[in-house]
């Protein structure tokens, strides 16, 4: 993939005008993580609508390259309003294909997927805390989520 293909209009626009950029005071879910190898650093905030088990509100804050910020913007757009059960199914292709980044090289892929990793981990720990009595199917599901997050890149 040639790089000028990467840096198309949409990426540059998103990076200069990110969507859902900001913070939530007292969020239901919060997590920070960074990419140790390049320094991208993202805070993710979410509120949960308990009635319908969905993400009612999502914001992010932080510093990152155009790819990181654009992908995080897209991720928040996809996530917002979704049922948690559906949110945990979001996968890397969903993000990458939206921005035409399927062929990103392995180092840059970390920039693209940092926020998805944070999303998965934060929901994992939210669910682990929340559900006191976890039945076995639920448990397997949770472990899968954690595995997903761990092995994302």
């Amino acid at each position: 993939m040639s790089n000028s293909d990467i840096y198309h209009e949409m990426i540059i626009d998103y990076s200069r005008n990110p969507i859902n950029f900001g913070t939530i005071v007292k969020p239901d879910i919060f997590m920070h993580d960074s990419n140790p190898l390049c320094g991208d650093s993202i805070d993710l905030y979410m509120n949960v609508d308990d009635d319908v088990h969905s993400i009612s509100e999502i914001k992010f804050n932080g510093k990152g390259c155009a790819i990181c910020i654009a992908c995080t913007s897209v991720l928040t757009e996809i996530t917002k309003g979704k049922k948690i059960d559906d949110v945990i199914k979001i996968n890397k292709t969903d993000i990458l294909s939206e921005l035409g980044l399927q062929k990103l090289n392995p180092v840059r892929i970390k920039c693209a997927l940092l926020s998805l990793k944070i999303l998965k981990f934060s929901i994992y720990s939210y669910l682990s805390d929340k559900i006191k009595k976890i039945d076995d199917t639920r448990k397997t599901e949770l472990f899968k989520l954690k595995d997903d997050a761990t092995n994302l890149y």
Binding site: S34, P36, L37, C38, S41, N105, P106, V107, R108
Partner: protein, 414 residues
């Protein structure tokens, strides 16, 4: 038999050094494989190719050659995982070799898990690398080091392990899967099943086993495993430590520096994900990549073929040595229970003198304590001579060894 000879000839062609002569006209006969093995041209070329075509630092840069280097480096982890049957390649830490691997455990796990009066159990046939780090640790912690002794066949007296475990306070049992002096293959499965009953951690020094026999870490169920690339056709300066994620997660960092951190601030720092937390600084990139090719080479031949070949050579050598008067062999005569290693003494000829005499005929054998002085004390000898085989050795080389031994006997008027 014919086919075997042919295929060994074929293999030997891959090892440039085997064509070299010493003292002008003596073709090298290399019988010190337990110390380090020779390298096939494929491994040499892999290193060469890295430096010629995509040398760059890894993990931290976005440009093309850095991507290629990072991918090749990480690919070695997957290769090793498959080779040793490790489920998660991210549980593999690259180190300089077995010695560093064991020291890493002593520092990063040991210093937080060994307390006053705790017991670490090792064995009488360990390499210094699996004794000295524990001596240092037990001294710091006022803990105790205990040894499983060997019997007259050079096998571990596992009844002593039972006693130690029963007595209590044992936190770690650490042992080599194959003795580098006697060749004895340790019954790892038995030791580990004993230890598991008492919830005791186990470390396997695989420096000698990984190169010469099938190792299946997932089956064995140990907690730590260490080995060195240079003893298995790979370059010097690389080895691995493996530990399961849940054990590694509770280990503190060893070296601090680049790549092992997530975020550094002036007064506090967070650690990187596994295994990078334990790989501080620029690693030995070229040689990690070379290691990968070494494993390919072993896989191509087949680890079982290697094992069979060495067993065959050992039996042949034992039968030949049997015909020479005044040779004392240490360890197990049963080659099914031993790697391709034979330690011996020859009358009152000191091993160093013997090695020097054999060297004149181009024959490289090891003499000395083999970094196993505790074992030497047990055997009550200052040193032994040791021959050790690998896939490229031949019966013809053993015949030449025998001729050279006879020369030594004449010089020393035996």
């Amino acid at each position: 038999m014919k086919t075997q000879t042919t295929s060994i000839d074929y293999i030997r062609k891959d090892f440039p050094i085997l064509n070299r002569c010493v003292y002008d006209d003596k073709q090298l006969i290399y019988l010190d494989n337990a110390s380090t093995t020779q390298k096939p041209i494929q491994v040499i070329n892999a290193i060469n190719n890295f430096y010629r075509n995509y040398n760059s630092n890894i993990h931290r840069s976005v440009y093309s050659i850095a991507n290629e280097a990072t991918a090749a480096y990480e690919n070695t982890r997957s290769k090793i995982a498959k080779f040793l049957n490790i489920r998660n390649a991210k549980e593999i830490i690259f180190v300089r070799g077995t010695t560093e691997a064991i020291n890493l455990v002593a520092y990063s796990w040991g210093r937080n898990n060994i307390a006053k009066d705790d017991v670490i159990v090792t064995t009488e046939y360990e390499h210094h690398s699996n004794i000295v780090p524990w001596q240092l640790l037990v001294k710091e912690k006022q803990a105790k080091l205990k040894y499983i002794e060997i019997n007259e066949n050079g096998e571990l007296r596992l009844d002593q392990l039972d006693d130690y475990l029963e007595y209590g306070n044992v936190k770690l049992v650490t042992f080599s899967q194959m003795s580098n002096v006697l060749g004895t293959i340790t019954d790892s499965t038995k030791i580990i099943s004993k230890c598991k009953k008492y919830n005791v951690k186990t470390l396997i020094d695989g420096a000698q086993s990984a190169p010469h026999m099938k190792v299946n870490i997932d089956d064995i169920g140990c907690d730590f495993f260490a080995c060195s690339a240079h003893k298995m056709l790979g370059p010097t300066g690389v080895g691995i430590l493996w530990a399961p994620k849940n054990v590694m997660e509770h280990m503190v960092p060893f070296h601090g520096g680049g790549d092992m951190i997530k975020e550094v601030h002036k007064y506090e720092t967070t650690w990187n994900d596994l295994p990078y937390k334990f790989e501080a600084g620029t690693p030995n990139i070229a040689d990690v990549i070379g290691f990968s090719t070494a494993i390919d080479y072993i896989n191509d031949i087949g680890i079982d073929t290697i094992r069979n070949h060495e067993e065959d050579l050992r039996n042949y050598a034992l039968s030949k040595l049997d015909n020479i008067k005044n040779i004392v062999i240490y360890g197990n005569k049963d080659s099914a229970k031993s790697g391709g290693i034979i330690s011996f003494n020859f009358a009152d000829i000191h091993p160093h003198d013997l090695a020097t005499i054999l060297d004149e005929d181009g024959i490289a054998i090891r003499s000395g304590h083999h970094c196993a002085q505790v074992l030497m004390e047990k055997l009550d000898v200052p040193a032994t001579s040791r021959i050790s085989f690998y896939i490229y050795n031949t019966k013809n080389e053993i015949d030449k060894l025998v001729i050279s031994l006879e020369k030594a006997a004449r010089l020393f008027k035996l």
